[in-house]
């Protein structure tokens, strides 16, 4: 049986959903899953990981404050000690930052933001998008360890695993670069990468203040994040952290609502793998309608308030 090491991120006492999905991807191959956690609260989170598919958990000492280079040295040590043939993390900002370093320690190539991960012979077969999703590549690795990060909202979380044995390991290296401060997002504000629903606004909203309509619709859903096209970010209406598209984030929510967004290729690159796409636009010929599952042609200023009310009612009725 193969062993796969999975780096698990956590916060506020629980593992990040993206990391649980990554564990699910590893578990689904039939491999033994060894989770690694580090930083403040790691020991408590370690106790929760058995039910999500870990057979064992290693608490890597240190990580307070977090240093990606120190964590990578530790994870690589654990991979070697375990004789693991794969090492995974979620394709979050920190996961994508960590795995290449682990790969270099193991002199192994790294595959980022994989949409598929399966056992294949003695190794693994991965799929990942190229050219902002214009094509999909299927690959294997000839490296000693297959190193990869898994795309969010693609893999299933294991619901009924067992219990996991927890051990600890000393830090493997002194940190070089260290996180010295975090300016947290306002609490309750969901990140566009993680939210199951994204409501996105474009230049057709005419001015920054009109994004209030987008925010109200997002609020109506309760579990939605606000997204933005490049045009409105460049215009200074919204922060870059909300930008969806080739030079912003790639998101794959259950529901993506594009409001007053024309649908340029660069924007589509960031959202066209969403499960369901809704487009609301005044222009019936807007390219966005070609990828949308459902579209409404009309004035966003009239439609959005009505839609927000209807969503609230639908949620209350449920």
């Amino acid at each position: 049986m193969a062993t796969i090491v999975v780096f698990v991120e956590h916060g506020n006492g629980s593992a990040k959903r993206a990391s649980l999905e990554c564990m699910g991807a590893a578990h689904a191959t039939g491999a033994e899953v060894v989770a690694v956690v580090t930083g403040a609260g790691a020991a408590d989170v370690a106790q929760t990981l058995g039910s999500s598919g870990a057979q064992r958990v290693v608490v890597l000492a240190g990580g307070e404050p977090y240093s990606a280079d120190a964590a990578a040295s530790g994870v690589a040590e654990i991979v070697r000690a375990e004789g693991a043939t794969a090492c995974l993390a979620a394709a979050t900002a920190d996961g994508k930052d960590l795995l290449p370093r682990v790969g270099a320690h193991l002199d192994s190539v790294v595959f980022t933001d994989c949409t598929g991960f399966a056992a294949s012979g003695e190794g693994f077969e991965l799929t990942r998008p190229w050219l902002a999703g214009k094509c999909i590549a299927t690959l294997t690795s000839a490296a000693p360890v297959t190193c990869a990060t898994t795309r969010l909202n693609v893999f299933a979380v294991v619901e009924s695993g067992g219990s996991a044995a927890v051990t600890t390991m000393d830090a493997a290296a002194e940190p070089k670069a260290v996180v010295s401060a975090i300016e947290a997002k306002p609490s309750g504000k969901l990140d566009v990468m993680e939210a199951p629903v994204v409501v996105s606004g474009g230049r057709g909203l005419k001015e920054a203040g009109n994004f209030e309509l987008i925010e109200k619709l997002a609020e109506a859903f309760g579990n939605a994040a606000v997204g933005a096209s490049r045009a409105v970010v460049d215009a200074g209406w919204r922060p870059h952290s909300e930008q969806v598209g080739q030079t912003g984030k790639t998101v794959s929510p259950q529901l993506y609502i594009a409001v007053a967004i024309s649908g340029a290729i660069q924007h589509l690159a960031g959202m066209k793998t969403s499960k369901v796409i809704v487009a609301i636009n005044k222009d019936a010929d807007a390219p966005i309608f070609k990828v949308a599952d459902y579209g409404i042609v009309g004035d966003a200023f009239e439609i959005l308030p009505a839609l927000a009310e209807a969503v609230k009612a639908a949620k209350a009725g449920a």
């Binding site: 280079d69 990578a72 979050t92 900002a93 994508k96 930052d97 290449p100 790969g103 270099a104 320690h105 190539v109 790294v110 980022t112 998008p129 190229w130 050219l131 902002a132 214009k134 094509c135 999909i136 299927t138 690959l139 690795s141 000839a142 070089k176 670069a177 260290v178 996180v179 010295s180 975090i182 300016e183 947290a184 997002k185 629903v197 870059h240 952290s241 930008q243 080739q246 790639t250 529901l255 290729i265 660069q266 499960k275 369901v276 796409i277 309608f289 990828v291 599952d293 459902y294 579209g295 409404i296 042609v297 009309g298 009239e302 439609i303 009505a306 839609l307 209807a310 969503v311 949620k315």
Partner: protein, 250 residues
């Protein structure tokens, strides 16, 4: 300061993608190329760092001989010299082979700081920066949107899902650059003229076998046909119905 900026030559954003006849790569006929978007930000940061701290900017890439075109663009925008590592198989070179070769050259150049884009817009792999830093034994900060350097140390700000992190680190280091770090300048006529005289070295890139093995490249499955459910406010109930009963996402 000895400053290095790395860039990757990538197909233009508008490029029509066709799969090669063998099915394991892209068809390159008719493709136009550009400097990857985030690498422009990296080059700009390198030039601004030289303007603030003094020193020299070397721009570095792995590519075909034709990449001398992109090299001259970088020299026109303020880089002082260029090193082009040629590899006939540059388009399919994997991130490990790239990171090892770049790390080798960066070490030979004796750099104090290296700027590279956070991700190249062809493979979207975001790996070369932190990999090269690790092969060099250096710190690396990724997705940087703000940077200050002084006395052999640096402070960088980066975006994560949690918010904005501040990271402190010693030099030498690799910085991967995100949108918002700066606004890249355009090359002026004077820069373009000066670029013709700046040194550009071409040498064969270290040969390293790829570990990544492409089994197939395919166009993505097309999305199902969508439909317009109506016009204006009157369409809202129909949309809610579709989301609830058909798509089952509400």
């Amino acid at each position: 300061m000895n400053i290095v900026a790395c860039f990757k030559r990538v197909p233009t954003t508008e490029a029509q993608v066709k799969v090669s006849a063998e099915g394991t790569g892209l068809a390159t006929e008719g493709l136009q190329y550009m400097i990857s978007f985030y690498d422009e930000i990296a080059l700009e940061e390198a030039v601004r760092t030289r303007e603030a701290q003094g020193g020299e900017v070397t721009v570095l890439t792995i590519g075909p001989s034709e990449a001398s075109k992109e090299m001259r663009e970088c020299l026109a925008k303020g880089a002082d010299k260029g090193v082009l590592l040629t590899d006939p198989n540059w388009m399919s070179r994997d991130c490990r082979a790239t990171a090892r070769a770049l790390a080798g050259e960066i070490g030979r150049l004796g750099a104090d700081i290296v700027f590279v884009g956070r991700v190249a817009t062809d493979r979207d792999n975001a790996a070369v920066g932190p990999m090269a830093a690790t092969y060099l034994g250096w710190p690396c900060v990724t997705d940087v949107i703000g940077l200050e350097l002084s006395e052999g140390r640096g402070t960088a700000r980066r975006e994560t899902e949690a918010g904005i992190e501040t990271v402190t680190f010693p030099l030498p280091a690799v910085i991967t650059c995100n949108k918002g770090l700066n606004e890249p300048r355009y090359a002026g006529l004077k820069g373009i003229m000066q670029a013709k005289k700046k040194p550009l070295e071409e040498q064969p890139c270290e040969e390293i076998a790829n570990q990544a093995q492409v089994l197939s490249v395919e166009l993505p499955p097309p999305r199902g046909e969508g439909r317009i459910v109506g016009t204006g406010v009157d369409a809202v109930p129909a949309l809610i119905e579709a989301l609830q009963n058909e798509a089952q996402v509400l």
